[in-house]
């Protein structure tokens, strides 16, 4: 049964009940407004179904994350044992083997048992131990890198969205104006330049040639970490260049999307009517044109927010920025399987969470979705 059917059933039931209670005099006759309770059920019903879908997706992600490394030939324990044997040139003693299997898992163990054990670890946010940075737990490394990524990629994603969308509305509102005819093609050109090229060029020009910005890292290593002015200033200084390159490359996409949506929305009759009502220009643009034109962009924005946790792999690699992306890059280089697995899981869950958030907010932003979804 779909929500609409359910809501209809509830409405019919409710109307009948109301009629019974109030007598024949004042039932919910036709043409009456949909009762608030039914509307709430519709909205929450929609959200609950979405929630169910995302729970299922998260479960699938966890199972896959568990299965994939175990389906691949070889396992972390054997890899480490082989590595030790190759380095030392002799048989690994049984007690060492035992402790390695204790940390990285016993390949001979039953799959079901392993899964139960894995779930138990997950519940304690135990993602295993990094092979490269042995014996630092993966969760600790992830938590350390997370703030940097959130700071850099999070702020730049929001900034690029706000900047691109804002300029897009202006360009779209007066399509064909001088601003539009300069900004739009220029942006189209700029956003087609490959990101790694922009990042490398910026690093070379502003970091190496001009020396305005540091070449790598997230902060000045000579300063003590903490909430003090010199440290925060160094964070800004180190983050400026990678942040600028991200905004530079990302805002164009938002601008073009928003501009085109605005151009079509401005032609809508309700925008014309808003002007006819004598509303101020700002109100017409914000409440009628931009508000409605932003709906598709908003979906993209929520997806982008989900991707923030994954970090900007290229940015963090080029600028050696200590975020999740750099962590992943390093672990890929050094085949740090527990590390990769942990990062993948976190990124997957974050993406799902962001999408859930987007879906929920979309219900608030676009009332038509409630019935149609």
């Amino acid at each position: 049964m779909t929500t609409t059917e359910a809501a209809a059933a509830i409405r019919d039931g409710g109307a009948a009940g109301g009629a019974m209670a109030a007598g024949a005099a004042a039932g919910g006759g036709p043409g009456r407004g949909v009762p608030g309770a039914v509307r709430a059920v519709r909205r929450w019903g929609f959200l609950l179904r979405r929630l169910g879908f995302y729970a299922a997706a998260a479960a699938a992600a966890i199972v896959l994350n568990f299965l994939l490394p175990r389906l691949m030939p070889g396992d972390p324990s054997s890899a480490i044992v082989e590595e030790l044997q190759r380095v030392s040139g002799q048989q690994v003693p049984p007690e060492t083997l035992e402790s390695i299997r204790g940390i990285f898992g016993d390949p001979d163990q039953n799959l079901g048992q392993q899964f139960v054990q894995y779930l138990g670890q997950l519940a304690r946010f135990d993602l295993g131990v990094s092979v490269v940075n042995f014996p630092v737990p993966v969760s600790e490394l992830v938590l350390e890198a997370l703030p940097w990524t959130l700071l850099l990629v999070g702020t730049t994603t929001v900034l690029a969205f706000v900047l691109g969308t804002g300029l897009g509305v202006i360009a779209g509102w007066k399509a064909g104006s001088r601003l539009d005819s300069i900004l739009t093609p220029l942006t189209a050109f700029l956003s087609s330049v490959p990101y790694f090229w922009v990042a490398l060029l910026a690093l070379w020009v502003f970091g190496f040639v001009l020396g305005w910005f540091p070449l790598s890292g997230g902060y000045d290593a000579n300063l003590a970490e903490g909430f003090n002015l010199p440290f925060l200033a160094s964070v800004l200084h180190y983050g400026a260049l990678p942040a600028a390159t991200i905004v530079f490359s990302a805002f164009g996409g938002w601008l073009l999307g928003m501009r085109n949506m605005t151009v079509t929305t401005v032609r809508e009759d309700y925008v014309l009517l808003a002007q006819a009502k004598g509303l101020s220009r700002g109100r017409v643009i914000l409440r009628y044109a931009a508000r409605n034109a932003m709906l598709p962009s908003f979906t993209g924005f929520a997806m982008a927010l989900g991707g923030v946790i994954g970090g900007a792999l290229l940015t963090e690699t080029v600028f050696s920025y200590p975020g999740i992306g750099y962590l992943l890059f390093e672990s890929l280089n050094k085949r740090d399987y527990p590390m990769m697995q942990g990062v993948f899981l976190i990124v997957t869950l974050a993406t799902l969470l962001a999408n859930l958030l987007a879906d929920s907010l979309y219900v608030v932003l676009d009332p038509r979705i409630r019935e149609a979804g």
Binding site: V34, G36, A276, L279, R287, N292, L295
Partner: protein, 395 residues
């Protein structure tokens, strides 16, 4: 026509404003004076003249119908009158003088600044658009769409008071007040259209421009909506410019009717005059394309051909290529709208004569006649009329 009932009912109420037509035109009785209005669409090539030399006067509380085929310039006229046109449409000539109810200074809407226009919008001049589905913002509650208009023009109005007023306004068109919390998609098509009308009346305007507000609804709803428009007009006294392609509907609803062809007003008269005595061959063609409900049966005829390309309008009278009654000179001389006792027509058949000539009916094309030989045309006309009658009687 279902709407017949509506009009008859209304007639007993206020009565038609027919007296005004022949009576002296007092300036205070006019709400809008449109003079020589010209609108062009700027293109890379020749400009498209969508409206040319449009002139009419709208009296207080009057319903003026504007009828014409697609591409006749009706919609262009609406956006020009309300100053809502967007590029590439440009008003190139004329004036639209608005006379406020309170006796304030007259405003030429063409020359008014955006700020002056904003102040007039909705409080004096509002609009009902063709498709109510598209005219209401789909993501805003009905109440909010009323409230922003109300509060823009009355800064002292609180949010709650504005929503309460919105509920009252909905009630005037027969929509339950609790619908203010609804979104447009939660209403039926007829309800949305009625809500649009209530919205247009929110700030008690003196003039409401309606763009085919009943085309998207069925005939029963159409009748209800028109009855409501007439009732509200009686109660609130606003004037209406009602634009539609449906002449039959206007004959039931409007006090006076303007017929547009190729961006020009070709005939302007009372509804009765247009129905009983259409003068322009085009008007006659329009009238004869739908069957009368009560009058004796007539032969139904369409108008051959298609509306002209406004980038390259025909020389002379724009209707001459489709006109069965054209005669020498129609392809070179553009007839002006000549007022004869309130019933104006732009056709060379009536050029040379005074108002009395209108009684003659439609003269026929002269085979060999030269221009200005009015008597000859009149004789032919009488003959032709007689033919027409026999034809009709034989059927």
């Amino acid at each position: 026509m279902v709407t017949q009932i509506v009009r008859d009912a209304d007639r007993t109420g206020t009565g038609r404003t027919g007296i005004n037509l022949t009576g002296a035109r007092s300036v205070s009785g006019d709400v809008l004076e449109v003079t020589g209005l010209g609108v062009e669409y700027v293109t890379d090539g020749d400009p498209v003249r969508a409206c040319a030399e449009v002139t009419f006067t709208l009296r207080r509380g009057e319903i003026l119908g504007v009828a014409g085929e697609s591409g006749s310039g009706k919609s262009t006229l609406i956006t020009a009158l309300t100053r809502l046109q967007r590029p590439p449409a440009v008003t190139t000539a004329g004036s639209i003088v608005f006379h406020p109810r309170d006796g304030g200074p007259a405003v030429d809407l063409v020359a008014a600044s955006p700020k002056e226009l904003r102040a007039l919008r909705w409080t004096s001049l509002s609009i009902v658009l063709q498709s109510a589905m598209d005219a209401l913002n789909p993501v805003m509650r009905l109440g909010a769409q009323f409230a922003d208009a109300l509060r823009t023009h009355d800064r002292s109005l609180s949010r709650d008071a504005a929503w309460a007023r919105a509920a009252e306004l909905l009630a005037t068109v027969g929509i339950s007040g609790d619908r203010v919390r609804s979104y447009p998609h939660e209403l039926s098509g007829g309800m949305r259209q009625r809500a649009s009308i209530a919205l247009a009346l929110a700030c008690r305007p003196e003039l409401v421009v309606m763009d085919e507000p009943t085309t998207a609804v069925d005939v029963v709803m159409q009748r209800q909506i028109l009855a409501q428009v007439l009732r509200l007009r009686r109660e609130l006294g606003f004037a209406v410019v009602f634009v539609t392609h449906d002449l039959s509907l206007l004959l039931e609803l409007a006090d006076r009717i303007a017929i547009m062809y190729a961006g020009r007003v070709v005939e302007l008269g009372t509804a009765d005059e247009i129905y009983d005595d259409p003068r322009h061959p085009y008007t006659r063609g329009l009238r004869d394309s739908f069957p009368p409900l009560r009058a004796p049966l007539r032969r139904l005829t369409g108008i051959p051909g298609t509306p002209p390309d406004l980038r390259r309008p025909p020389s002379g009278c724009p209707f001459h290529p489709r006109c069965a009654l054209r005669f020498e000179g129609c392809d070179t001389h553009l007839p002006e709208l000549v007022d004869a006792g309130g019933h104006a027509v732009a056709c060379r058949l009536y050029d040379a004569a005074d108002g009395g000539m209108a009684d003659v009916g439609l003269p026929a094309r002269t085979a060999d006649g030269t221009e200005g030989r009015a008597e000859r045309r009149i004789e032919d006309g009488i003959e032709r009329r007689a033919e027409h009658r026999t034809e009709g009687g034989a059927r």
